[in-house]
């Protein structure tokens, strides 16, 4: 050994078998790199989007015509429950955390997240939690109590005569969401500490990109809202398997406790699902309007306001359960209040576009579509906050229309906008803009055709969660329209997949900064190296990369503006 030279050692290294973590697959499995994990989150989320989408198509096939026979009642319950659960817990949250993982460290000029290994843990927990939940189909016992799993329906037995959910259906949901909850807790801890502690020199809180702001608020909401769901689920598991009585009215419990616990998670949750989408749109609009964002401070702090308020409105999901009228008045007021910071954002976005040199590339198109669709969703949400109106319309298809305008018209369009915007950064390749525009218009038409008629169905009295309906109630045409629309959305998704595959194979080289953008993630190679930046950038304004590219008109020289 004494005579060994450096040269000899090098040969030994060359000859030895590759470690598992050095093989192609092994590298993905063992990675702790935030960019790889981000992509894995995105791919996983998109996979579950396809699963949830097929469930949606099954629902719409069953409901296309009156007296449908495609699904039997029990299967229908499982399908609609898994559709909602999959879309919320396994598509939107993973995809948004995927963007957050990939983009946030780059945006704030960090080399990785604060806890890279915990990041990997969170991803794998998510993947296995998702597989665990979907595996319930193999047993024919998928969750069937709605994505809100209301007790006492989800109890083992409610009372002596009535079998509620005697099989494992609810258990899959309760255990699955608890696993996914732990995954989200680790993810949000990571975001909070990363954003607070790893920002590049000069990037003060009020110079942080808005997407980072919104991920920060989302993470706080997850940290403080998820415990309610965990507790609700554990109590229900104790009821089901240990003989406790938390949600059993006859034995001193109270089913409304479930609703209170669930919605004090559930309402913050819907803002968890939309805030990062606000963030994506707030990044894209200024770049494609060639202007700085209008009212940065308002957008950032209205996001924080929404975060706080979202903990005070939960019982607007419970107007019909017979709360005291003083409570109803309180929750109606707080719900209406939350529309104010939301509207502030919309006006800021409009002012950002106003007078800009707009480029209608795919990301911009989807972002504009987001504003229009989210506006409709917000407005009919405000209508639902009116208690007497809600009495009439709650648990009807009107609510389904609201959900989908905010979540599909809102979050999903923003997610597509984000993919079209950042794909060049992820891969170094441009996506096909023409095909992307086709994707946009097909999706836009499909979504309005599907979800707009649902307002009318709701007003005409069609309840949600019914597996079929008789022919003589005047709902036939509207349902047929909605089903056609759903398949049009499906075509849009296929166009999107074709575009991804095509661009991966033969996309034009994108260069590092194809959009002439403003934020730090573009100030590095596409795709970025493992260490992100050769040198950690120094930040002097809200648009550090713009400053670097246009030193003569750099933002920080124009002190009055900020």
């Amino acid at each position: 050994m004494a005579t060994s030279t450096i040269g000899e050692r090098a040969t030994t290294i060359d000859v030895r078998r590759k470690r598992f973590s050095e093989t192609y697959i092994g590298e993905w499995i063992t990675t702790t790199d935030h960019k790889q994990l981000g992509l894995m989150y995105l791919i996983t989320g998109f996979f579950f989007f396809v699963v949830g989408g097929m469930e949606a198509l099954l629902i719409r096939t069953q409901l296309a015509l009156p007296n449908g026979k495609v699904l039997d009642p029990d299967t229908y319950n499982q399908i609609f429950t898994m559709h909602g659960t999959t879309m919320i817990f396994l598509f939107v949250i993973p995809v948004l955390s995927g963007f957050g993982n990939y983009i946030v460290p780059l945006m704030i000029g960090a080399r990785d997240m604060a806890y890279p290994r915990m990041n990997a843990f969170g991803f794998w927990l998510l993947l296995f939690g998702g597989i665990f939940m979907q595996s319930s189909f193999l047993f024919g016992q998928a969750p069937n109590g709605g994505w809100f799993m209301y007790a006492p329906l989800s109890e083992l037995a409610a009372g002596h005569a009535f079998q509620a959910t005697p099989h494992m259906n609810a258990d899959f949901w309760l255990l699955g969401t608890t696993l996914l909850g732990i995954s989200s807790i680790t993810g949000s801890l990571n975001f909070v500490v990363t954003v607070f502690k790893l920002r590049a020199p000069g990037m003060s809180i009020n110079r942080m990109p808005l997407f980072t702001w919104m991920i920060l608020v989302m993470s706080f909401l997850l940290l403080f809202a998820l415990p309610s769901l965990t507790v609700a689920s554990v109590l229900l598991l104790l009821d089901r398997h240990m003989g406790a009585h938390f949600y059993q009215y006859g034995s001193g419990g109270d089913p409304l406790l479930w609703q209170h616990l669930f919605w004090s998670f559930g309402h913050p949750e819907v803002y968890i699902l939309i805030l990062p989408a606000f963030g994506i749109v707030s990044e894209i609009l200024p770049v494609f309007s060639r202007k700085p964002i209008f009212g940065y401070t308002f957008i950032a702090w209205s996001g924080v306001a929404i975060g706080f308020l979202s903990f005070t409105v939960w019982a607007h999901h419970m107007f019909a359960v017979g709360l005291p009228s003083i409570a109803q008045a309180f929750f109606a007021t707080s719900t209406t209040l939350i529309a104010i910071p939301t509207a502030v954002k919309i006006f800021n976005w409009l002012a950002t576009i106003w007078g800009g040199k707009i480029r209608f590339n795919a990301p911009m198109l989807f972002a504009l579509g987001f504003i229009a669709m989210f506006l409709i969703g917000g407005l009919n949400g405000a209508a639902l906050a009116v208690v007497p109106f809600d009495y009439q319309i709650t648990d009807s298809y009107f609510v389904v229309a609201h959900i989908h305008y905010v979540l599909f018209g809102g979050t999903a369009l923003a997610v597509f906008a984000g993919i079209y915007y950042w794909f060049p950064k992820f891969t170094g390749k441009l996506m096909d803009d023409r095909l992307a525009k086709w994707h946009f218009w097909v999706t836009f038409i499909g979504l309005n055709l599907t979800f707009f008629p649902m307002h009318l169905m709701g007003i005409l009295g069609m309840p949600r969660r019914v597996y079929t309906y008789p022919a003589n109630l005047g709902w036939n045409d509207l349902n047929a329209m909605a089903s056609v629309g759903a398949f049009i959305i499906g075509v849009g998704v296929i166009l999107f997949m074709i575009n991804i595959i095509k661009s991966l194979k033969a996309g034009q080289a994108a260069g590092d900064d194809p959009w002439d953008a403003y934020t730090l993630e573009w100030d590095t190679t596409s795709p970025p190296k493992k260490y992100n930046f050769l040198e950690i950038p120094v930040v002097r304004s809200r648009r550090p990369f713009y400053d670097k590219k246009y030193p003569d008109i750099a933002d920080w020289k124009n002190v009055i503006k900020h």
């Binding site: 801890l189 909070v192 403080f224 104790l238 009585h245 034995s251 260490y531």
Partner: protein
Amino acid sequence: MSVAHGEQVRVLEEEHGQVGERSLNWWGMVFFIASEALIFANLIAAYLYLEIRNNNDIWQLPHSNLFLPLLNTAILLGSSVSVHFAGTGIRKGNVRQLIIGLSVTIFLGACFLVGLAYEWTSLIADEHFSISSSIFGSAFFTLTGFHGLHVTIGAIFLAVCLVRATKGHFSKQQHFAVQAAEMYWHFVDVVWLFVVTLVYFVPLFR
């Protein structure tokens, strides 16, 4: 490559003067505990909600023997002292003090769990009072059980630290695991004060 990341973390921490007490990991632990605290906040809220909604039931244990809960409170408070003793030890670089402090704390934690188990079995066997006998039964066993689970987790956490301490993993500069375990243990103790007040003492004043 993770070196590059670690390097940045180190530089940022040194620049902002955050070596030691308020490290990156310290912040992570703070937010984790905050989230855990909300689990108990939700449990307690559920307890109070059920009590308000249903005060026909008896919200009281079948016996009013407070000896065991008081003893257990004393044990846990004592263990907070001993875990602090362990922490001060390693902050001065004294591994022996760390090992003694951790051992005492784990022992006291085990005593607490034995006490809880004894109380549970005597309630179930002698008084026929169980999780399914009433809504108070459900609430009582769930709340104390959740807390007992957290004591168990904390004790395992401390035990891992103890093993690592005997292997010489900790020094004056490097002992975050001990710090985290200490924070967690104090948290679990504070929670107990809420639990014991709610299920044992508040009923006395009704």
